[in-house]
Symmetry: C2
Subunit: 650 residues, 2 copies
């Protein structure tokens, strides 16, 4: 009875249930090893396999044999260029982190060497990062004052760096790179912009020549602190600062206009440092309110493994800081590596990058370095200078080593105000207002997330901005899951295609049949909503038909193409929907259930309840089958009930 | 050039962009008013509209005019039946919450009256709930001891009830019913089972006749506490307890076997109380270690508005407790109402139910009642006794009122051990092991969530179980979003249908074309994964073709049917994928982008970049178009590059 005479052209396949552990292992593999990294090791004898593993974990073995002199020439140029940036930036960012400037130089010596061996990116230039430096000072400075207890504070910084490294490496080993994915593009744009604003505000201390400054980072505290000390502002410092700022911004502007000026821009920071130092040396400006770096110890990194304060009462705060700056460092480093790789059409492995950054920071924390990553500004210079491989990092490292061994006395007279100008110039590039406008045009919610992150960082704290942005992003995903769209489909004229009547205004209703499409997996989080929404669609359609006098409704076709999976709440929902549809005298028909869905429908006996002949491969076939019944046999209400019971007893 | 000669039968429509505020308001409406509750008020004159609003907010005006004597007969019987349950349960659950037993009776008088007016369910029987009672004692008992400061503790209980009500009502007014949806079916099964186990363990105090007992709820503490007091166990209490437990479980078992015994089961608790009280009265067992309720004050609820301790130093803990028990109460009450409504084929409004429960608890907190909801056990008895409307709640309320006015002295000799037996019998029904087995069979992850909730509650605390279960559920949703499936499609023989070759083993590869289907919205959380996974599919396909010697790959068709939306990270991902596909010399073709997706592709100029003629309505049409080109014009590598640049310059 019913559509028994109708021959269905295609059957919906119910894939066989895989054994539990097989399906578990394939799920785990798909979740944590989507790139199938160990494929190449299969079916290899032991010897080559060991070599492959070595190459896999230490990429330098992979590319070093193919290294050529031409490569070296390019790498030498770019290495020297980034070294000229690394020295002033290292010193500046160390002061952001409230640690001795020399630590910043140390941090540009050992970590790049480690990364050159382990990293899979050819363009990342390793170095300290402004945002993470500021974060360390902001979080840990509240616990231990860097002014009153400099030694204890420094130990905490090393400890936090150690934990950041452990955390980064574990994420990589555990293949949890997906955590970084939850920092969306919009989050990063807003967060970076906010952090750059905050870092610029902190530079007011250097530019204005102030001695005392607030420990808070939010804009209100900083402005209050600055404006309450108007009488301590030093004009010498301000004039010097503005000159250098103008010089640096001009070179930056010029290099953007004409690529020929690229070198001027790349060398501008070092030039500023040299010019500034000479100026102070000859005018003795350090006696007139222009603060200078002062004595820098000669010599390479002293070991600091014994400084790791695992027994400290502040251990917890060090771990927390480590995790936060570790994530921030990764987000920047991995994203930078990925972007340049996409540009040059090679591939970086996110999980391997995490391991490389992690080991780099663990080793760094034992050799007097603090947190390093792959900062965007330095990597961009590296890329523009034409680097070919990670050898440019080795060149930079050697240049910094030479500086440490012989040139530190030259930095004695470097004025802090020059460093402040260098930081401000670097930071202004991170405030990406064009991207914000683009976000507003493209996706309003992404814009809100971005703005939330920015406002959170600037008016609250760096952590608050991050929390706001991540919470908003996750909330959006959850809301999308909780409120999936349901569409009414209509027939595209002269075809067997069925599409949303919202999107295709020409699509036509099929008389007597309501076709609904679900656009998301059916979960506990949306099953109640979907039940209410579907019954509202049906009620609306009944009313529409009543008022227009069309053929009365007989069939509800649910197109499950968009339903990739279903859980136990979803199955219950479908059962209830079926019951309520049948109570109204209609028949529920399913179209195109996917493999996960049909498996679970089968296990829960839903297929038997609805009848296997009421499940079709496409909406088109379902409509044809329904029309077959509608035209050959119009059911009266009583007959419809019979039909139901007949179908139910199948 | 390219497919310009091929006439595309159908075009993908790009819906016009809606103005910002229009699309915002329609999104908000879809999110918070999916049931469109105010539809009936449109186009009505003021008078009827006010009446409709009154009926909407106070449903008793809706159904009272149609109330008949037949209804009343049924409601009277069911009301008296649930009252016989309400009295012993009220007293028992109050002792679970560590408050005077009389409060339990008060709580079955006022709240049912309120609910009868405001509630939209016909079957919910209002009363105190075991889990929420235990939770209150567990959370607040740690702050203020109910033994040492009974008055202060009671004030805290009223305050928490007040905040629970405010929270519930606000959720309803703010249309945030979706929060309750995040407690999945599996979470509730595990949580209820765990809570029932914990409540049963707590009854060991009553059964064993112990005076001292641990304040912790976890199984380890309870077993330790019980086993360390073996010498305080009272055999009189144990014997009495076992007898009544046997009696109650027997009637429960019988009523399940034969519906005729339903009344015996429903009246068993009251019978036990009467029998137990008589026994103690005549044997003076209260002097031999059988603890009794003792004096219960006669009279109706005293006002308690002045007891709300808003100035208390423990206010925060009261608010926290209120929110937790408020959610638990709602989850049970709303789900119970919904289930019975589905059974009788009428509709309850989740948001209105929340407002009803909320106002009921706010009023309750001012009239010496503590938290009430719609407990499953009592509502099931109500339903089985044949209730027709909420009038059964009014009948119960009047019966409880008579008890309060005249019958309280009769409970003086009621032994606590009988109450413990009543609680245990009620709780055993909540441990739904059959459902757990069903979950294991249907969905392994739901089983894990359920088990997590159970173990968390039994071995940790009630809150911990809830947190574990919700965290696992949300984690699952996020993982699903972060790792969506991608499918390779093949042609179902003798059709233009394309389906996953995993699900349909007969589906055939189309030579020279790789068809990939995405099954989820493209978000920041999965865009990196999707990029890697898609390029792996392409590489795998290239290798497969190389080894099998088929026609080499020319086209990659991305079926976007399952992509309901896309954000800015997703757009960047598509752009990168396009670049990398074109660099390999292939052409990217899109099929069936949904309205949200095509709008954003249009805004971001992706359509221009790919060429509007490379976007098709169905996979079938895309394949036809590609085949048209493949057969009429085989591109060489150079020609392919030309093709690309030609397409790009469109």
């Amino acid at each position: 009875m019913g559509n028994a005479d109708f021959e269905c052209p295609h059957r919906v396949a119910i894939p066989p249930t895989k054994p539990f552990f097989e399906s578990l292992s394939s799920n785990l593999k798909e979740t944590f090893f989507p790139d199938d990294p160990f494929k190449q090791f299969k079916n290899q004898p032991l010897g080559p396999q060991i070599l492959l593993w070595l190459k896999y974990f230490i990429p330098i073995f992979e590319w070093a044999p193919h290294y050529t002199l031409d490569f070296f020439k390019s790498d030498l140029v770019s290495g020297v260029t980034i070294a000229s940036l690394a020295v002033p930036q290292g010193i500046s960012y160390a002061s952001l982190a409230s640690i001795p400037p020399i630590i910043g130089l140390y941090s540009s010596f050992i970590p790049p060497l480690i990364y050159a061996m382990l990293g899979s990116s050819k363009d990342v230039a390793v170095g300290t990062v402004a945002v993470a430096s500021l974060l360390m000072a902001a979080i840990m400075g509240k616990e231990v004052s860097p002014v009153e207890h400099p030694k204890q504070y420094l130990q905490l910084v090393f400890t936090a760096t150690f934990f950041a490294g452990v955390f980064q490496a574990s994420l990589g080993f555990l293949r949890l790179g997906l955590i970084v994915d939850f920092l969306s593009h919009a989050t990063i744009v807003g967060f970076m912009g906010g952090a750059a604003t905050v870092v610029c505000l902190q530079q007011l201390k250097g530019i204005l020549g102030l001695v005392h400054f607030t420990h808070e980072t939010d804009i209100v505290s900083v402005i209050t602190s600055v404006s309450s000390q108007v009488h301590q502002w030093r004009w010498e410092s301000i004039v010097l600062g503005c000159c250098f700022l103008f010089f640096l911004l001009l070179t930056r502007y010029l290099s953007k206009k004409k690529p020929i000026f690229f070198w001027i821009n790349a060398l501008a920071p070092l030039t500023s440092v040299i010019l500034g130092s000479l100026l102070v040396y000859f005018t003795h400006a350090e006696k007139h309110g222009v603060q200078v770096i002062g004595h820098l110890k000669k010599g390479l990194n002293p070991p600091s493994a014994t400084d790791l304060a695992f027994g400290s009462p502040h251990l917890l705060i060090a771990i927390k800081t480590g995790i936060i700056v570790g994530i921030i460092g990764l987000a920047e480093g991995v994203a930078v590596g990925r972007s340049f790789a996409a540009f040059k059409n090679y591939h970086t492995d996110g999980n391997k990058e995490m391991i490389a950054f992690g080991i780099m920071n663990i080793v760094g924390s034992c050799t007097s370095c603090y947190l390093t990553s792959g900062p965007f500004s330095r990597s961009a210079v590296n890329f523009n200078a034409g680097c070919k491989t990670a050898v440019s990092n080795i060149v930079m490292s050697i240049a910094v080593m030479i500086t440490l061994l012989f040139l530190t006395p030259f930095f004695h007279y470097t004025p802090l105000v020059v460093l402040a100008s260098i930081i401000i110039t670097a930071m202004i590039g991170l405030i990406n207002y064009e991207e914000v406008i683009h976000l507003w045009k493209l996706d309003k919610f992404d814009f809100v997330v971005c703005l939330g992150a920015y406002i959170g960082v600037v008016f609250g704290s760096v952590e608050m901005g991050l929390i706001i942005a991540v919470a908003l992003s996750v909330l959006r995903v959850l809301l999308m899951i909780a409120r999936p769209r349901t569409l009414v489909l209509g027939n595209i004229p002269n075809s067997t295609i069925y599409r949303s009547i919202d999107q295709y205004p020409t699509a036509e209703h099929v008389p007597g049949i309501l076709i609904l499409q679900l656009e998301a997996p059916i979960y506990f989080a949306n099953s109640n909503y979907l039940r209410e929404r579907l019954s509202r669609w049906i009620t609306d359609e009944e009313e529409r038909i009543k008022s227009s006098g069309e053929t009365s409704l007989q069939y509800i076709i649910l197109d499950l193409s968009g339903v990739s999976s279903i859980d136990s709440s979803g199955i219950s929902m479908l059962k209830e929907i079926k019951k309520s549809i049948e109570r109204k005298g209609f028949k529920l028909v399913l179209a195109n259930p996917k493999s996960e869905v049909i498996k679970k429908l089968n296990k829960s006996n839903f297929i038997e309840a609805i009848g296997h002949e009421w499940i079709y491969l496409t909406v088109g076939e379902a409509v044809t089958a329904c029309n077959f019944v509608l035209q050959t046999w119009k059911p009266s209400p009583v007959a419809a009930a019979e039909l139901d019971s007949a179908v139910n007893s199948v």
